[in-house]
Symmetry: C2
Subunit: 413 residues, 2 copies
Amino acid sequence: MKRAALIAIGSELLRFDRPDTNTVWISGRLDRLGVETVSRVSVSDEPVVIASALRAAVEMADVVILTGGLGPTDDDRTRQALALALDRPLERDPAREVLLRARFSAIDLPWSDRQARQAWRPAGARWIENKVGSADGLCIEPADTTIVALPGVPSEMRPMLTEHLSTWVGDVDKSTMARSTFRIFGHGEAGVDERLSDLYDEPGIDVTILSAPGEVEIAVRSVADRRETAETQLEVVRGAVLTRFTGDAYVDEDRSLAGIVGDLLAGRGETLAAAESCTSGLLAAEITTVPGSSVWFRGGWVVYSDELKTRLAGIDPEVLEQHGAVSEPVARRLAETVREGCAADWGIGVTGIAGPGGGSQDKPVGLVHVALASARGISHWQTIRPGDRDWVRRRTVSFALDRLRRKLIGAGS
Amino acid sequence: MKRAALIAIGSELLRFDRPDTNTVWISGRLDRLGVETVSRVSVSDEPVVIASALRAAVEMADVVILTGGLGPTDDDRTRQALALALDRPLERDPAREVLLRARFSAIDLPWSDRQARQAWRPAGARWIENKVGSADGLCIEPADTTIVALPGVPSEMRPMLTEHLSTWVGDVDKSTMARSTFRIFGHGEAGVDERLSDLYDEPGIDVTILSAPGEVEIAVRSVADRRETAETQLEVVRGAVLTRFTGDAYVDEDRSLAGIVGDLLAGRGETLAAAESCTSGLLAAEITTVPGSSVWFRGGWVVYSDELKTRLAGIDPEVLEQHGAVSEPVARRLAETVREGCAADWGIGVTGIAGPGGGSQDKPVGLVHVALASARGISHWQTIRPGDRDWVRRRTVSFALDRLRRKLIGAGS
């Protein structure tokens, strides 16, 4: 199986407490071609640092992709680092400079000598045309490795990569890969792990589990000599997972749970409204990440304060006093009244303790009540899973959407 | 200035389209000690790959920190990689095994031979006690470099790092650093860049700009021989930034815009309610990320469909017909009615076109109307910034909160 190492260049990537997104995006593309990413690195823009990272990358991978540091400023030092690491001179390419000047004059941008830096390349490098910006990419193939340098601006890098990646990667049929991602709602990581443990030893199959709020994600990779074999192996595993988690798993990695719920509702011509306490709009916001959700989502209430639970949902202050805001009767009443108040076919009511404060022995942080109202009546679920505020709220959104999904596919409660 | 290189180990880190969080967290800690992170890498768990990454890290840094791969399973290969890269034999430490066995029996966990793998170390390595889990860390100091390997589980890694980091880093006073982050709302990246450009050439000062939805983040690092000099330099830059962006900048990097708004409201004993169309709950969700926000945030409506704009906010269908749902009169009416309907001191109304569909020549994607109602009357703002759906919605949340913040500090519109 071919191996890739990815290098993101730029001190600014290390200055903020945020990760680089280019390398993550590229590794997703490589994955689809059956190429394994063995390293993703963000480095400062010092040539010696870039050169060290590049030498390590060449040791471990067949394809090395660098992003960033190809522009005209003093901080752009990727071409110097390539020359340094590969021990090749940097050469000015007069033909490329002519082309660059023409590009600048075509869009009425002033030319400066700085811009001419973008016409230099390590000896033997080929240009990769940038159709969006001014910094062209470079491709060098010393010995068995293909090294590609691309600009760091995603809108420039992505089309260049998309156009050429299969050429850089070359023939991957000798050992190839198929992959799929499953997501399971309503089971913990340990439970999923146990149900799948026998698959871990299947030859050519690689199962990885990752826990996210309210769901467990399962990545399955199948490696074989031929694509068909890899795909057949993957199908067997997919079947095994689906059987073990009937009604739980959904497969398409590009779709969200909200999108699936939306398709089910739209298919029935039905609509939804939500009344949220602890999630405070996060459920409605997640639902409307789906473009076109206005067809099936009406809106709802954020009833964060108890006063609004009474004002908007008509919940008797005595009920709040007696059962507390985080209780079954409150969740039921929220679902019922938001359904009526928003003239929707389905109403969801959510109330819980997101923390960090507000928990008690009886009602700990992580306790959530969810109710679902339709013309057929009201269903209610209670769940407790401790976690931090953000985690509890995200998990509650997934939990509520998954209950609705199960109702809609008739998988019951 | 001392330099660090960070290595996260584990194929699972590369399997999902998600970045590693341990190295990002550690680089934040190093920053505070005045140590610059020059490389952050995630690598697969093959010893040769880890060893290549480790050799590159030693070339470029004074301190190398590895996380992950120290446990008892077959996938845990960090100690082998350390031995390989540093060319030292792996040795069993009988004393550590006794200690491990005692730890297991103390908490009634069954001992297995696998667990004994955690008592092996490259020759010359010192143990770093793990007080939470079973995998102890390792510290090796070949030549001028300090290499530290820690477990990958954040709840085990973080206390170990917090306890020992200053020891591993050693004396950093020879060249030290102070840093601060500013955030500016209501200016584009180019505008901020221009206003700060003269600061870029200040010796010892390093200014980096990063654009996020609705805000521009500015990281300032000041490097000098002595801490006091670095801090004085930083203060000068801080003053310059604050002067140039009076009313715009806020400094404390650990606080959110919603938290600042909340403090201002709580200080005045006032409350807030929101009526959201395009943001569909995202504003309410962002507000309630602040623990204790129930003191000043009541809740509100998600009026995603036009029907709910009429039902909940009493907006005349003729107004919707005549001006459209994304219009000044609708935003004003939302702010006014949600303030009344939720009995709050302040009401925010938000309506806009988040895309990808729904835009037109007159009302393009990115057009947003925000209104703010109080006892003193209603203010309205219109803004257009194209972007993808998520970006437009997040930017709208920041924009609305910043308008409220300005009103509350009396910075006008």
